[in-house]
């Protein structure tokens, strides 16, 4: 059984910070940073909780999974930055409120 702990609280706080950032911020790069914070919260939680599966040590599967998910996170952010560059060339701004032309 997993005890409630400061680590879970910490990753929860990080996760909600990321969500808040996605909901409230307007700069495209800040949105991507919000995503990155959420990815890190999930990875932290994964490593912490996996240390309870085998007492006293982190299971190798969790290590593999976290490293792969960090890599995937890097891919997503890189792609997001590419799209941001194209958006900047089109609109001349990084404000997402300008990207509202699709709404009907």
């Amino acid at each position: 059984m997993v005890p409630s702990n400061y680590y879970i609280a910490c990753s929860m706080i990080l996760f909600s910070l990321g969500l808040y950032c996605l909901a409230a911020k307007r700069n495209m790069i800040r949105l991507l940073i919000g995503l990155e914070i959420m990815i890190n919260a999930a990875n932290l939680n994964f490593i912490f909780l996996s240390s309870y599966v085998v007492e006293g040590s982190v299971h190798p599967l969790a290590h593999v999974f976290t490293i792969l998910s960090i890599g995937i996170g890097g891919c997503i952010i890189a792609l997001g930055l590419v799209i941001t560059i194209y958006a900047y060339r089109h609109y001349g701004t990084l404000d997402v409120r300008e990207l509202r032309r699709l709404k009907h």
């Binding site: 994964f46 599966v53 792969l68 998910s69 995937i72 792609l79 997001g80 941001t84 009907h104």
Partner: protein, 488 residues
């Protein structure tokens, strides 16, 4: 090593740039790459039909494991459900690949086909994975490929805008899944799907289990177009090239449905009482919002995208009812919706290819200028309106009957109400394309070349065959539905 099918597809994906390079030497890059990719997908389809047809009919069960023991390591497994979905993915994928040979122009043809093969491969990886670890990796690969494809026409503002919106929302969904996986792993010490369903059996009442369940529903539901999280879908499906819209709308939504099926009906089956009501509410909301927002649309691709949301709601309703017949209906509807939505998006792509407009009022009367595409489009729309001798009628009837049998006639009534709403916009589409007087744009249109007509005609033929002769397909869907329930 993976399964032979996945091996072949990964090999094809990574050798596509090579085909492009060779093609560039002989100055026929586009022909070479398009032929190679289409051949690869059709070859894989043959591989499925020849070697795995037993698995498809639920006879045998195939599993391959990595080096570690199953509860801890990563594994692949292919049951009837996986093969059923993989076959659909490959059919739609090869049609889209054939169609885009004429649609895609410009420098980056090789990149386009590589990513198209990549998204089909990753989707098949998703349905083949035996544990949530492998599923997550393939899932993110699929998502990354789809962001690239939505933003493929990067010189247009709408592609950039839709892709950024899609990237933010869909990655947030993916991260929510990852967060839920960390809870599930912490609670049980395994991510293997069969072991998880055993380990979670007695864990009702734990707050963390419910948090993980809700997060998984949100994460997978986001990709399935479930309503409070559907905002990206109309934009992304509208801004992508039409053959990609066919892939996204026809099959990628089904990957989300697959994730929900695995999570709800296999892993969290012991907690059915706690998720059934939630999922029903989501499903009803999804149907209504999808159909009602489709009604006033003038943009043909946006209208079709909203109708995808509505149909996703029907499938979710079948899962929420959960009886064997309801699952049969859902699986049958997955097949039918994939075929019809791919057909409609490809027809829309053909119209757009000739007229350069997506507006229904400008496309008025285009049937006279493009008779074959117009006829196929009308067949598809009639099916979407669930007219009896076509394929949608049978699967929707099955879900409605299942609702009545399971003692939830109010749900069946709501679904019938939605079918009436959907036939309203279907009739409007038919009126626009076939009855109204031609505009100056639609008069100038010509019939599209054979490469574009071939996939359209094949898909229209398949949907008519399923409509006239539904028994074998219904039996297949029933086998698949039973395989889900047996595994659970």
């Amino acid at each position: 090593m993976f399964t032979p099918l996945l091996d072949a597809l990964i090999l094809f994906t990574f050798t596509t740039p090579l085909a492009g390079l060779i093609g560039r030497r002989v100055r026929h890059e586009k022909t070479a790459v398009a032929t190679y990719a289409t051949f690869a997908l059709i070859f894989s389809l043959m591989l499925v039909l020849v070697f795995y047809s037993e698995v498809l009919w639920g006879v045998s069960f195939l599993a391959e494991h990595g080096s570690a023991l199953p509860p801890e390591g990563a594994s692949l497994e292919a049951g009837a459900l996986s093969m059923f979905l993989a076959t659909i993915f490959l059919i739609i994928g090869s049609m889209a690949s054939l169609f885009s040979a004429r649609e895609i122009e410009g420098e980056s043809v090789t990149g386009y086909y590589t990513v198209l093969l990549g998204i089909i491969t990753a989707m098949i990886g998703v349905v083949f994975s035996g544990d949530l670890f492998t599923l997550f990796i393939f899932w993110e690969a699929m998502c990354i490929c789809s962001y690239v494809l939505v933003a493929f026409r990067r010189e247009r503002w709408e592609s950039i805008e839709a892709s950024f919106k899609y990237l933010i929302m869909s990655s947030a969904g993916g991260i929510t899944i990852l967060f839920a996986l960390s809870f599930v792993y912490g609670l049980t010490g395994t991510l293997s799907i069969p072991y998880l369903s055993m380990s979670l059996d007695g864990s009702g009442g734990n707050l963390m289990v419910y948090a993980a369940l809700l997060m998984l529903i949100v994460g997978f539901g986001l990709q399935a177009g479930m309503v409070p999280f559907h905002m990206w879908l109309p934009d992304a499906h509208m801004a992508a090239p039409s053959s990609i819209s066919a892939v996204l709308s026809g099959v990628m939504v089904k990957a989300g449905i697959y994730g929900l099926l695995k999570v709800l009906l296999v892993i969290f089956l012991p907690l059915r009482g706690s998720w059934q009501t939630t999922l029903t509410a989501f499903a009803v909301l999804t149907m209504f919002v999808g159909n009602l927002s489709a009604l006033p649309q003038d943009d043909i691709k946006r209208l079709l995208a909203y109708s995808t949301i509505a149909n996703s709601g029907y499938i979710l309703l079948g899962i929420a009812i959960g009886s064997n017949r309801a699952l049969t209906g859902s699986m049958f509807h997955v097949l039918n919706h994939a075929l019809i939505k791919a057909l409609l998006f490809l027809c829309a792509g053909a119209f757009i290819h000739r007229t350069k407009t997506r507006s229904l009022s400008e496309l008025a009367g285009i049937r006279r200028a493009m008779p074959i595409t117009g006829a196929a489009f009308i067949i598809g729309v009639l099916s979407l309106a669930s007219i009896p001798p076509l394929n949608f009628f049978w699967s929707e009837l099955t879900i409605i009957r299942a609702g009545v049998e399971a003692g939830m006639p109010s749900l069946s009534f709501l679904m019938i109400l939605n079918m009436v709403l959907s036939s309203a916009y279907c009739l409007r589409m038919i009126q626009a394309v076939a009855v109204k007087k031609e505009t100056s744009t639609s008069k100038k249109a010509k019939e599209v070349p054979l490469q574009m007509l071939l996939p359209i005609l094949l898909l229209a033929l398949l949907s008519v065959i399923i409509g006239v002769y539904p028994d074998p397909f219904q039996t297949l869907a029933e086998t698949v539905a039973q395989a889900i329930s047996v595994r659970a």
